[in-house]
Amino acid sequence: MTAAVGSTHRHPTEPVLSLANAALGFGDRVLWNDLTIDVCAGEFLAVLGPNGSGKTSLLKTILGQQQLDSGTARFDGHAVRRGDRRIGYIPQQKLIPGGTPMRARDLVALGVNGHRFGLPVSRASEKRQVEELLESVGATAYADEPVGNLSGGEQQRLRVGQALAGDPRLLLCDEPLLSLDLQHQRGVSELIDRRRREHGTPVVFVTHDVNPVLGMVDRILYLAGGQFREGTPDEVLRSEVLTELYGTPVDVIRTGGRVVVVGIPDSETHHHHHSAHGEANL
């Protein structure tokens, strides 16, 4: 398996992930329709859009947990299926409660052998693998801490380590930076990006705020109001494009290498504003 690295152009090789004419809706509501998109090795695709626009549903489709209404979703040349261990999945950051009987290393170990039935005894090779994963996400120092005592950022690093177990061919991330401070946002997104650069593993990265990953993104898929726009950040993050997509005037302001979107007709405005504010404080 060879893979070109860190490119911004399309690959001549077979795409790792391929959606064709995909459509999904619930009740009368269409989330997206006629969605065709290929993700090739080494690509970083950011999926943006307001709450409820179907970003998580898109990931569930790729994970084989959600059936399409029409169209196809293929991973590595085959129809997607549930529980495919060649896909690494990093969920939305939600704090693991204190008192969970698990140490940092146990969380990572679940990625290695958490799917296996049988007496819960780890093999030496698996222990070594866990050790390597802990090191690769910089978690060795707190490997033996109970996970419930760790900060959101530390927990999220462990989830990256868990997702990297078993050498995934594709990484799916569902708002992995949510409610992390800026330093941890950078740390976690850099871990994900490093995997992409060093192994060519393509990344589908759902996020509210594109700024923490702006320097890594090759392409953007912007979902809103049952429609979508797809292209490079320069093609999609423009006032005309988003105004047309939202059907209401939206301003995209670029300041100091950051993108701020103003005028989105729901609570998202607040979020963008908030994170812009946070960055300004740096």
Binding site: M102, L110, N113, G114, G118, P120
Partner: protein, 286 residues
């Protein structure tokens, strides 16, 4: 009025202790295994936030046992049937916590009401009747004790075999499903194991007090440690101590065993809380 001396004599009496001990030999074994398995499954009951489900299942198990008593069939079988029906229904209908709690809230009074109806219709001795609610191990006969022990061992093996996928599913069902854990099967299988062990507990400690063996020991263990090894080990030790200690203390007196078991299990929990407060280092027992 009862004097203190009489009270003591009713609660604790160690005359002819050796003879009594041989009589309850089988109950002790059943209690010991239930204590161990109850402590172990409690670790998952806590992680999956299912204490209320345990209570709901035990009320339906009580209804099943009461029906069996009324119709003269095997009480353990009735207890099992009630518990399994409740557990599987909760498992199928209540995958989300909110749905689950409302289903349990609906099922529980229904089960308890049915059980009370069957008991009221039952013409037999009243000791048997109350036993289902408050524990009756001494009156369970030997063949039944063999069944109770066997079921507990099945649950123990099931838990050990499912340990990793079940831990993964309890921590984060979405990620577990994405990484190849058959989460629907695992959750349902867990409910079946839970139903089985609840049915056994109803026979031994009574429907109203099942939580003392299926929740309290694990809750105490979680106060002392966050280690994936020590929490289950401590929970099993605490469950064992409560069950066996309770049976031994109750032996000579003329009272049911349940209050002894619940008191020991509660005391362990209190001590664990205090010790947990004192050793508030970040990790406690690792």
């Amino acid at each position: 009025m009862i004097t203190l001396g009489e009270l003591w004599a009713r609660m604790f009496n160690f005359e002819n202790y050796g003879e009594l001990l041989t009589l309850v030999h089988n109950s002790l074994i059943a209690g010991a295994i239930l204590g161990i398995v109850g402590g172990l499954i409690g670790v998952f009951v806590m992680q999956r936030d299912m204490a209320f489900a345990v209570h709901g299942i035990s009320e339906l198990s009580f209804a099943g046992a009461a029906a069996a008593l009324l119709f003269g069939v095997n009480v353990v079988a009735g207890s099992l049937a009630g518990a399994l029906i409740a557990a599987i229904m909760i498992g199928l209908l209540g995958s989300r916590a909110r749905d689950r709690n409302s289903i349990i809230g609906v099922l529980m009074p229904f089960g308890l009401g049915l059980g009370i109806l069957f008991l009221a219709l039952y013409p037999g001795r009243s000791g048997n009747k109350f036993g289902l609610l408050t524990g009756q191990i001494i009156s369970v006969d030997d063949p039944q004790l063999v069944w109770l022990t066997g079921i507990s061992i099945v649950v123990l093996i099931g838990l050990l075999v499912m340990w990793r996928p079940l831990s993964f599913d309890s921590l984060d069902a979405d990620v577990a499903a994405a990484r190849g854990v058959p989460t629907r099967f695992v959750s349902l299988a867990f409910m079946v194991l839970l139903g089985l062990i609840v049915a056994v507990s109803v026979q031994i400690i009574g429907a109203l007090l099942v939580l003392a063996l299926l929740v309290t020991p694990a809750a105490a263990a979680l106060r002392l440690s966050a280690s994936p090894l020590w929490v289950p080990v401590l929970a099993m030790v605490f469950g064992f101590t409560s069950a066996v200690g309770g049976i031994l203390l109750a032996l000579g007196g003329s009272l049911p065993i349940s209050p002894y078991i619940t008191t020991i299990s509660f005391s362990i929990y209190l001590i664990a809380r205090l010790v947990g407060l004192r050793t508030k280092t970040r990790a406690g027992l690792r």
